[in-house]
Symmetry: C3
């Protein structure tokens, strides 16, 4: 997993791990130590993984993981090196196990480690306003400005020549060089991802980060959630206007321009040189190609190929939209 | 009225009350004391009420109020115990009289009583960040966290095991147990309710509160306005994502999930186990049933019955929406 | 230009000005001093102007400017008093020259001049909360309130009887009398205007202000950007609800009511007595007439004449919208 910030509490004994799942493993395995939880492809020997849908059958056959949360039907697809742990709900179980390895990534309380910047090493190096707070494990490059009341919580890396305005909250975020973040933004909080359970939903950990590449600008009141298993990425020289919401795991390309009040739902991928008009919404898990233009107010509910202009709700070819609405 | 927070400045003499309305009552009544202003149904003896539309004729006939703001046409419907005060505009007059009883509920200036939490009784009990302010008449349960720069203004009750993030502003709000409010939210401000009057609109008091039940989560940058005559309610285990707006008097049920940038206009009622996709909007005074799913980007302008999936603008049955938009 | 706040760094020698454009002028002109950059109409003798499209031919013929950035094709339209400076991209060149005259209007870093209000002349006059900051060149009238953590950055004028809530950030803004700004707003930041250039977009200066007229109310979490070459204006007794975005150069009339989460794109003009429903979006450079009603959720992509009701996306006559969507 790609997170440089969240402490992995492993190795954990498999006996500890399965305690929360109400299942058993053979006595011989019980003291075996597991180092991490990863997806089927990136798991190594001594990791645990999960396999919940037939469509991952081919990668499941080749996983290097030592254990795998799965179902009775799917377990026959796993290779010999991988011991199947059959559970009722694979994703809920995965969430529980991830929480054991990364307990700090579930709920985002405020950062108690944050203290006044005047009392930190950044006192001289950074040009800062009143009441700026800095948490643990923060690094800030040369020639940076941080405005009044802004809180750089723990686990933030800021490059050179960056300007953060006032009233921002940033955590679990990598900011490259020459980035401008205006005011009132919240960047790096966990996403809106959880399992709906009656009376008490189950949150799963978000162990990804937000990565903001060189020369980006982020407008006022914008929220960018960190990824759950992968990162949320804003590509080079991409500009976001005010009051935009970028959900967890979204990846936005380079030189892209996004106008005010746009919302991008979880895990969607936006290409390079894309222009998105104000208030447009993009559903989750979509792929928007390069050089795409999306008209203001559009609701995009399916993939958009490269070099296309779309508009409408649901968004369709812009010529068709305009012809239908003369 | 349901508000535990706003001080009722009554009893007021009826002569004082009618001064602002340019009307008269018989000399004999002038010193009569009025204790409160309520709707037709909940008024008691010695209260004043209001009656502005024929559709309330049946409840008007049975009101226990001693006085009633009404029109020349409607006054004949009132019972003998209730003295009619005929005015030109019943709702504007009602607003003026409510303002006499509840002058503190009209305009929300900042809370001057708020002081640093270190100087309050919560200094030890609460786990708090830098620059946290607490107003008068606040109570906070066991095991709560309050983040940096958050302002708990006057008239707030918080239960046990609650976590408030940073930069929030809360007032006139009841928060039950195990509630998480992330960052940058404004909760409990008066709603967008006023009488449009040329050059100088007339605001009426908002004497309701916001009630957030157990196990809720409220995302970053969300605004929840308090009710005008009733309360704004978020039911148990309901999760709101970032940048959502919940207007005054809205009631949301239990186990409901609302994605980013959704807006719910005043006085609408949302059922239990409802799922609302990102950027959807719900008009005012609607009733959305239980187990409803509303697609992202939808504009809902009429009631939605239980167990229905809708999408589109205006929202219709989702199958129809998808069929029409192949 | 209408900005009372940004310092004009002129006069500048024409030789300095053209250095950044890679062009030449006759030796005789090189020491000539230029006082300001303005549009074709408002330029005076010794100003520089710009002319980039045939549709401005008629005003170009009468400009009083001494120099004009233009193209090889258009230069013949200029009068004898005006010396043509032929450049590849007129608007980019205009941006560069404007930046020379107004270097402080390009990027909005936090205001380093802001200090605690207790240490300013407003200590006694203003009713203020905790941690209020005031920048240089601020004036505040009688009987004003400023809430906790609010930052009045440099270049703000506030009239009498105004109430600002908590966590606001205001700069480059003129606020008249009896204005209420609730919480978490950002007012007066530069707009989302720049030239897209691969790897490094070019921001142009925003030298307009935000002007908020008497008796307005601005809801929580609203952003109002200042103008680029003209001002952003909110007319008398106009009320904005929560989470609204008003882009640069927008002009809104009097007695207008705008519900939550509405977005108005750059340079659009909204009339008097207009009502806009929640989440409606208005494209840029449009003209919405007086007494217009725009239904909630609408997407307005063309001008709307006076006394019209529209709804839909794209917005059309409301009767037609309702008939098509029975």
């Amino acid at each position: 997993m790609s997170n440089p910030f969240f402490k992995n509490h492993g190795p954990l004994k498999i006996s500890e791990i399965i305690k929360s799942l109400n299942i058993n493993v053979a006595e011989a395995y019980k003291d075996k130590e597991i180092y991490d939880i990863k997806d089927l492809t990136s798991s190594e020997h001594n990791d645990i993984t999960f396999f919940h849908s037939k469509k991952y059958k081919d990668v499941a056959k080749r996983t290097k993981a030592s254990f795998c949360l799965t179902t009775n039907n799917l377990k026959y697809e796993l290779p010999k090196n991988c011991f199947a742990l059959v559970v009722e709900n694979v994703l809920v179980s995965t969430s529980k196990i991830t929480s054991l390895f990364y307990p700090d990534a579930i709920n985002d309380g405020f950062d108690k480690t944050a203290k006044d910047i005047s009392d930190t090493e950044f006192n001289i190096k950074v040009n800062f306003g009143q009441n700026v707070l800095i948490g643990d494990n923060v690094s800030i490059g040369e020639n940076c400005k941080i405005g009044h009341n802004t809180i750089i919580e723990k686990n933030v890396t800021i490059g050179d020549n960056c300007s953060l305005g006032s009233n921002n909250i940033v955590r679990n975020t990598l900011i490259k060089n020459n980035v401008r973040i205006l005011d009132n933004c919240v960047i790096g909080k966990h996403g809106f991802g959880f399992f709906p359970i009656k009376n008490n939903n189950l949150r799963y950990p978000h162990i990804g980060v937000v990565l903001i590449e060189d020369n980006c600008e982020i407008g006022c009141g914008t929220t960018i959630d960190r990824g759950s298993m992968s990162n949320t990425i804003i590509g080079k020289n991409t500009y976001l206007d005010n009051q935009i919401h970028v959900a967890h795991n979204v990846k936005i390309g380079e030189n892209t321009i996004i106008a005010g009040q746009v919302g991008i739902a979880g895990s969607s991928i936006i290409g390079n040189n894309v222009k998105i008009g104000g208030q447009a919404g993009i559903s989750g898990h979509l792929k928007i190609g390069n050089n795409v233009e999306i008209g203001g107010g559009s609701g995009v509910i399916k993939d958009v190929p490269d070099n296309t202009k779309v508009m409408g709700y649901p968004a369709k070819n812009i010529k068709e939209f305009l012809r239908n609405n003369k």
